[in-house]
Structures are given as structure tokens and as C-alpha cells.
């Protein structure tokens, strides 16, 4: 077959099969979502990445959730009847578990009928997270926090089999619906743990029936159930509405900004609002974007390469897109990108002036243009906007912006540090992951430091190698980012808390006794003006001490089709698809134009 004939044959087959397989008008509503990374499995205790966590949260639920319609981020009850009662000393939390909630039907239950959720299910699920044989990836959340749980874990690390029947003092079901946690020390962030997929409720019968294959047999109490009951590691995940989902209603209350925009119009409707969900795993930007433009996906983050054509003025959508009824959502992300110094090296540890000089020489404005379409927020210190501890009007005196005076000041500080014009300084290595953007960022850092006479060598590493280097302190500087686990400044400030040094979260090994003391005090304080004042003090201290070169807090740019209703950009996406709705009529009309 000659080439043109082959092309014609393939084309004809494609059109034939496309028309054969094209879905006709579906009954009910379907959401089409796209994610950019493979989903590992559906076991809550291993859901340590955003993508797996989001999938787990479609099927499983926790005691608490983030109120989707409130900012700043606020916790609300989910499988709990109400927020817990907390003892005066802040150590005992008592929850009433919702009555009448049932697990999805599965062969693991008698006659295949899902049974009622009880407080005991949470005791089991949290013990599972602590089980040393399973090595759940969210153990850090509870490590050292619940009375008796560490002892229980340590005991079974030595024994061949874990006994879930053995009682743990701080984790008890007082009756069928009452759950009590006793903490070993005050931990104000504890409640956030109960909104994270790691602690969601699983049924013991299901875990025991499927054993190692449990991660592919998700059976939760959530709004959606996986189609056919089995999760396959493929590029599409199908869900259907959970037929036994409880009477959970669309909220009627929320922050003013959402009320004004009409997000509460569906108040009182039974959730979820759609019948089916199709999650497409599309790892590359181009196909994800093209699928969105064709209307095959309801919303996507704007890829960097398409940014200028989609959002020409960096604030509003281009007219072509507006005509297609596409909408843009911009929201700041709870994160920070930074260049860390290795504080084990005397060069950086004992030389605040050198760190300050390097921070001043780094032109953050130009970097923002190059790597973030000029849309990220310049980081003055460690805490991002949107949470208590962030100081909107504060400007760090050591935040370089490429101005002449910044460079002059940097040169002066460098001379005072003992390295006039960089003389006497060794070549400083910069380690980063081995992808193109990281390399460009490394080269940019190299150029910035060259302005004051500092030589930088960029070293690219595969991710495990970079982690090893950071952990074994075999780096001088490295570029990295941090995203919030929960909306509390503690989650950021702990990154420079001395006792958290690597392999803990403090990869740079910064260890300042004064800062540590403040952190220790703040970490056991309940939310309030006093704690906020302390957070601000630490945040300011971080800006002046320059333990890292603070870069930016990124913003997310998401576009969605007009037919997708109730979508709000959030840092905590677990469970939000139950609120989404699809305007089928508008979708039909819009698709004709795409």
C-alpha cells in the first residue's frame, strides 16, 4: 500500500470508528476533568500527592472538610455532626459521628449491602495510618501527637503482626457514634489532619477482604463510587454517583464574595449535582489544553506556553476565549519558591551578610517575568498571603529587585562579609531537579550572582538524587518549592525550625535558638491575635535573617467553560467535585462553536 493510500485508509477508518464510537446524548450530567499526573491508587493512607488525594476524596470522606465557600480557609464538619468539643487544656477532642451514613455496597459486607459508619471505623482507619507494617505516608501528621499511638506503633514494629484490637489511650470510640482523641501535647493544627485524605474512614471488612489489593477496591461513604468497583492504573477513571450517598445538601451560607457572585444559588440541592465523572490523566500540556479547547475537558490550569495568547494583558482573557464563553479564575496559591543555603556550612551559617548580599543581588522582578509570566507575588519572607502571619505591607530590606541601589548594597555587604567583589569565595554550587525550567532558573541565579562577582555552578539531579544530597547535607545551595499541607503559617515556619532538620522538612538546616524558642511557644497556641503576632514576629525575623533567598508565592490561573457551574479555585481540592454542576443546554450550544 502506497503512502497516500495508507493515509486515506487510516483517515477513513478513524472517521468511521469515531462516528461508531461517538457517544450520543447522555442521560444525566457528566463532568470531564483532566489531571496532569498518574494516580497511584485509592488507599487513603498512601495519598500523599495532590492527584491521588483528590481521587481518594471522591470516594472516601473524613470527619472534617474545608468549607468550600469560605475564605480564609475554614474547617467545617463532614462525617462529624458538628465541630468537636475541646477540653479546656486543649488536649481532648470529642466528636459525634453522623448517624445513618453507610459505606458503598460491596461484596465485603454481608449480602453485599454497605453497613453504617461508626466511630470505630475512624479508630481503625487512624490505626491503619499508624501501622508500622503499612508505612502510611501521612504518619507525620500524627507522629507524637495522640496519646499512646506512638507506643502502639513502636510495639508492633517489633512484632510480626499488628493487633488492631489493642486499645490506644488517645484514640477511642466511646460508643457507637462518639469518638475521642486525647493528645499528648497541645497541637492546634490537629483538626486540619482530620480534613486530609490520610485520615478518611475505611471499612475494616473491605481492607481485610481485599488485602494488598485494597488500594484498587475503594469503598467509602463519599459522593461518588468508582465505576465497576475496581480502580485500574490507566489514563481514565470513571465514577458514578454513589446511590447510597446520604442526604448531604448544597450549602446555603458562605463568604460574601461567593454570595455576591451567585455561588450559593444551588442552596439546599442534594449533592452531588452530577451523575458521572470522567477523570482523564493527560500528562502533557498540549493535549490537555487542546482537549479543553475542544470542550472535552471542563477546566484546566493555563499552561505557561499558552499564557500570552490566552491572557494577553496578564489579567483578562483574550476576546477569542470570551466569545467561547470561557472564564478565567486567578487565585494566589499557598506556597513559596526559594533558594536554600546549607547552614551546615560555616560559609553560610556564620555569614548573614553574605546571605543578605546574595538575596539583594537576585532580581526577583526579572525572575517573575521570566518564569511566572510576571504574575507571581514577590515573597518578602516565608509565610504566603491568605493566612495569618502574612504581612501585606511589609517589605524586606534584603529583597533584590534589580535596582542599582540593590546591587550597590549587595556589593557593600559582600565586602563586609569578607569577600570584596567575590574574592576569596569558593565556587558556589546550585543543585536543582533535572528539568528544563529548573535548569533555566539555575542559569538565571548564576547570572544574578555574577553581577556581584560570585561564581555559581549549576548541577542538575534526578529527584531522588537531589533529595539524597539535601538529606546528607551534600549541597551548598538548592532551588525548591513548598506547598501548604494546611492553611496555617506553622506549616511554613516549621521549614526553618532547627529540630526539623533533614530528613525532616527543614532541608536547609537553619537553626536559630531565638527563632526556635518562638516557634515552640507558637506551635502550642490556639489561633488568635497573640499567635498571629508571634507568627508575624517570626516571619519578620526570617526576612531579616535570610535563611533562604525567598523567591515568589505563585498564583494559579485556571480557565473553565461557561457550562461548568460552582467551580472555585482552591488550594484544598479534596471532595470539591460534589458541588460542581453542568449546564447541559449551554454546553450543547457552546460545543457547536468550539
Amino acid at each position: 500500500m502506497r503512502f497516500p493510500s495508507l493515509l486515506l485508509f487510516l483517515l477513513a477508518s478513524s472517521l468511521l470508528f469515531t462516528s461508531c464510537t461517538k457517544k450520543t446524548d447522555e442521560k444525566g450530567k457528566t463532568l470531564y476533568l483532566a489531571v496532569s499526573s498518574q494516580v497511584k491508587g485509592m488507599d487513603p493512607i498512601y495519598a500523599n500527592d495532590r492527584y491521588s488525594g483528590n481521587e481518594v476524596a471522591r470516594v472516601y470522606e473524613g470527619l472534617l472538610q474545608y468549607d468550600y465557600f469560605r475564605r480564609p480557609y475554614t474547617l467545617a464538619p463532614n462525617l462529624a455532626e458538628a465541630m468537636p468539643t475541646v477540653s479546656e487544656d486543649g488536649l481532648t477532642y470529642t466528636f459525634k459521628v453522623l448517624k445513618g451514613v453507610v459505606f458503598q455496597d460491596d461484596a465485603a459486607f454481608p449480602e453485599g449491602k454497605g453497613r453504617e459508619l461508626t466511630a470505630e471505623d475512624f479508630v481503625y482507619s487512624i490505626k491503619r495510618l499508624a501501622d508500622p507494617k503499612l508505612q502510611g505516608l501521612g504518619w507525620w501528621l500524627l507522629d507524637g501527637k495522640i496519646k499512646g499511638l506512638n507506643e502502639w506503633r513502636n510495639k508492633y514494629a517489633e512484632l510480626p503482626k499488628t493487633d488492631y484490637e489493642e486499645e490506644v489511650e488517645g484514640l477511642k470510640a466511646l460508643d457507637r457514634y462518639t469518638l475521642q482523641f486525647k493528645l499528648s501535647k497541645p497541637f492546634p493544627q490537629f483538626l486540619y489532619s482530620l480534613a486530609m485524605p490520610f485520615t478518611y474512614a475505611v471499612a475494616r471488612e473491605v481492607v481485610e477482604k481485599y488485602g494488598d489489593e485494597f488500594l484498587n477496591h475503594p469503598v467509602g461513604t463519599g459522593p461518588f463510587a468508582i465505576r465497576d468497583g475496581v480502580f485500574k492504573q490507566t489514563k481514565k477513571i470513571y465514577y458514578v454517583k454513589n446511590p447510597t450517598f446520604r442526604e448531604k445538601l448544597y450549602p446555603c451560607e458562605g463568604s460574601e464574595e461567593f454570595k455576591e457572585k451567585g455561588f450559593l444559588k444551588d442552596c439546599g440541592k442534594k449533592l452531588p449535582l452530577v451523575d458521572r465523572l470522567e477523570v482523564n490523566i493527560i500528562e502533557e500540556n498540549q493535549p490537555r489544553w487542546l482537549n479543553f479547547e475542544k470542550g472535552r475537558v471542563d477546566f484546566v490550569a493555563v499552561p505557561k506556553d499558552n499564557f500570552d495568547s490566552v491572557i494577553p494583558d496578564a489579567k483578562n482573557l483574550g476576546n477569542d476565549y470570551k466569545e467561547k464563553k470561557i472564564e478565567l479564575l486567578i487565585s494566589p496559591a499557598l506556597d513559596i519558591t526559594y533558594i536554600a543555603f546549607n547552614h551546615d556550612l560555616a560559609l553560610f551559617k556564620n555569614n548573614k551578610k553574605l546571605r543578605r548580599a546574595m538575596s539583594l543581588a537576585y532580581d526577583i522582578d526579572e525572575a517573575n517575568k521570566k518564569f511566572n509570566n510576571n504574575q507571581a507575588i514577590r515573597a518578602q519572607s516565608i509565610v504566603p498571603p491568605g493566612i495569618a502571619g502574612y504581612m501585606e505591607s511589609y517589605k524586606s530590606p534584603y529583597r533584590g529587585r534589580g535596582r542599582k541601589e540593590d546591587i550597590e548594597k549587595a556589593k557593600k555587604l559582600l565586602a563586609e562579609a569578607g569577600f570584596p567583589e567575590g574574592k576569596g569565595l569558593p565556587v558556589i554550587t546550585y543543585d536543582c531537579p533535572n528539568n528544563t525550567v529548573s535548569r533555566h532558573q539555575g542559569e538565571y541565579f548564576q547570572l544574578q550572582m555574577a553581577k556581584i562577582g560570585i561564581n555559581v555552578k549549576v548541577i542538575q539531579n534526578p529527584w531522588p538524587e537531589l533529595q539524597k544530597k539535601i538529606t546528607t547535607r551534600n549541597v551548598m545551595t538548592y532551588g525548591i518549592a513548598w506547598s501548604a499541607d494546611y492553611p496555617d503559617a506553622e506549616n511554613f515556619l516549621q521549614l526553618i525550625y532547627g529540630p526539623n532538620r533533614a530528613p525532616g522538612a527543614n532541608g536547609s538546616g537553619y537553626d536559630n535558638p531565638e527563632f526556635n524558642k518562638l516557634f515552640k511557644v507558637a506551635s502550642v497556641m490556639q489561633d488568635g491575635p497573640e499567635r498571629t503576632a508571634l507568627y508575624e514576629k517570626m516571619n519578620r525575623m526570617a526576612a531579616e535573617e535570610v535563611p533562604w533567598i525567598f523567591l515568589v508565592h505563585r498564583q494559579s490561573f485556571v480557565v473553565k467553560h461557561g457550562w461548568l457551574k460552582n467551580y472555585i479555585s482552591t488550594d484544598f481540592e479534596a471532595g470539591i467535585s460534589q458541588y460542581f454542576d453542568v449546564d447541559k443546554k449551554l454546553k450543547k450550544e457552546t460545543l457547536k462553536k468550539l
Binding site: 495508507l6 492504573q233 490507566t234 493527560i282 502533557e284 487542546l290 534526578p462 530528613p503 522538612a505
Partner: protein, 313 residues
């Protein structure tokens, strides 16, 4: 030596080769590489957790026990579960091999038939305009990066003209067809350039042999010479080239699968390396080594079939 005893002897070679492969993999990943537990535990890892996880994964066992376990898994094909996804490795390979093969096998067959036909044609018209044009087209096709074919193909044919699906995959026939046609076409275009050049060289080598001159002197038609004599004699080289490509068909194509959303094996090894997922790396290395040995053997046996003069020693 009979064909059977030759095959048995060659299959026995699998044992030392596997031992060697296991040793290399073991050395590279258990001795030299970074501690996998750090990347597995993520950003909140503590020293105590690292130690516990090492114990659970058996990384605290003496090295000779760890090596023995590596060898055992290679010979029993029981590779266990992935450290990163916790999925059964045999299941991962099984479910990935079919989508990969769905794209690569048709592409392989089409490009083989197409390339051999074109190369016979240009060899027949050697030195003419057709020959020179074919060489220019082949070199041009080879000079363009595969990424360009993918990006342009996806944008123009799938998005702009709507002839194919942009990306995705559905299990089962005929649902899968619209998803795999464009990737197949791109692989064919990518393969045709180098393949035609290679086959053409082989054909031209044969065309100038004495037996071809003798055949012409005997008055045989050019058609008979090309198909009966030249093609048959060129088969030994063609078989070597083609059969050794087969194991890689199952492994899929990283870029194609990634861009077209095909849940194949294309990225499995790369992802495993990036996440220090040793059981998967071990499984893929061992299976690739076995596949290479078997297909090498198949090549040798096929030599004997197409050319009885070949002696197997």
C-alpha cells in the same frame, strides 16, 4: 549440531546472563544509588521513619541476602509490588503491554511492509530520479524531531481538522481505533525514513552480487530477480534488524504514549528510575534481558530457515 540442541544450549545461556544482569542492577540500585526511602516518604520524612521503612523494604538485610532476593525474583518472575504505587508489578506490566502493543505492532507491520516495498522500488530504479527523491525524503523525515511530528500532528490533524481523537485510550475494539490511529501514523512516518535507507543499502549490496548478474545473463525477468533472488538473500540482514526491534515494541514509546495518553509501558522504567522504585526497575531490566536473548535466538533460527547454508554452532 541439531537445531533443538542449539536452542537448548542458547536458552541455558539465559542463566549466566540473568545472574550478570541481577548483579549489575543490584550494584547500581542497592549499593550506589540514593536511599529510596527518602523520596518515598516525601517532604515530611523523619530519621525514625526512614529507618523503619528500610526495615519493611528489607534494605537493612545483609547485602548477600538482598542479592539472593534479587536473583530469586528474576528466576521466579515474582517481582512483588511497586514501592511507589504499591501495585502488583506483573499486573502493571500486563495492563501496560497491551496498550503499548496496540500502537506499536500495527505501526511496526505497516512501516515494515511500506519500507521494504519502497526500498525494493528505489533499488530497482537505483540512480534515477525516484531513487534520489526517496533518499532526500528519507533524510528529511529523519532530520525532523519526533516531537515536531507529535505536536504538529496532534494540533493539525486531531484538533484543527478533527480527523482523530486528540488523546486518550479506550479498551477494546473498535472503541480504541480513533485513539491509536494518529500515534500509529506518526510512528510509521518516524520509522519509514531510517528503515528505507537501511533496506535500500541492503538491496543495493545484493543487486551488485555475481548471482544477480548470472540471473540476468540467464534471461530472468527483473521482477523475478528482485523478488525471488535479491529479496530472499537480503532477508538475513532484514531479519536481524526487524526481530530485534520486537521486544522494544512491547516497551512502547515514551513520548508517543505520554502525548497521546496511552496507558502503556513507555514511561514505566523512566518513572521507576525517577522514584527509585527498584522492584519495577529490576523487573523491567530482567524482562528486557530475557526478551533480548530470546529474540536473538529467534533471529539465529530464522537465519537457518531463510538460508539453509547457515550453520548453527
Amino acid at each position: 549440531m541439531s537445531l533443538t540442541s542449539y536452542i537448548i544450549r542458547r536458552l541455558l545461556y539465559v542463566i549466566p546472563v540473568l545472574l550478570g544482569v541481577c548483579f549489575l542492577v543490584f550494584l547500581l540500585f542497592n549499593v550506589v544509588s540514593p536511599d529510596p526511602t527518602i523520596s518515598m516518604l516525601g517532604k515530611h520524612a523523619t530519621q525514625a521513619q526512614v529507618l523503619e521503612l528500610r526495615e519493611v523494604l528489607g534494605l537493612n538485610e545483609p547485602l548477600h541476602i538482598q542479592y539472593f532476593n534479587t536473583v530469586k525474583s528474576a528466576f521466579t518472575f515474582d517481582f512483588g509490588r511497586s514501592w511507589s504505587t504499591k501495585q502488583e508489578i506483573s499486573e502493571m506490566i500486563k495492563s501496560g503491554a497491551i496498550p503499548s502493543a496496540t500502537v506499536t505492532f500495527p505501526a511496526f507491520i505497516i512501516s515494515f511492509l511500506l519500507s521494504v516495498s519502497i526500498s525494493l522500488f528505489v533499488a530497482f530504479y537505483r540512480g534515477t530520479f525516484f531513487d534520489r527523491a526517496a533518499v532526500v525524503v528519507c533524510v528529511t523525515l529523519m532530520s525532523i524531531s519526533s516531537l515536531v511530528y507529535i505536536l504538529v500532528g496532534q494540533w493539525f490533524f486531531a484538533f484543527h481538522l478533527g480527523w482523530f481523537e486528540i488523546s486518550g485510550y479506550e479498551e477494546g475494539f473498535p472503541d480504541v481505533v480513533p485513539y491509536v490511529l494518529l500515534p500509529i501514523l506518526i510512528i510509521v512516518v518516524l520509522s519509514v525514513g531510517p528503515d528505507v535507507r537501511f533496506y535500500r543499502t541492503i538491496m543495493l549490496d545484493e543487486i551488485y552480487q555475481d548471482y544477480v548478474r548470472t540471473a540476468r545473463a540467464k534471461g530472468l525477468s527483473e521482477k523475478v530477480i528482485m523478488f525471488k533472488h535479491v529479496l530472499k538473500n537480503a532477508m538475513v540482514s532484514i531479519i536481524t534488524y526487524v526481530v530485534l526491534k520486537i521486544p522494544f515494541l512491547i516497551l512502547g514509546s515514551l513520548l508517543i504514549e505520554s502525548f497521546f495518553g496511552i496507558p502503556g509501558l513507555g514511561g514505566i522504567t523512566l518513572k521507576a528510575v525517577n522514584s527509585s522504585d527498584y522492584p519495577v526497575i529490576k523487573a523491567m531490566t530482567v524482562l528486557s534481558a530475557i526478551a533480548l536473548i530470546i529474540f536473538n535466538l529467534l533471529t539465529d533460527v530464522l537465519y537457518k530457515v531463510v538460508d539453509p547454508r547457515v550453520q548453527l554452532k
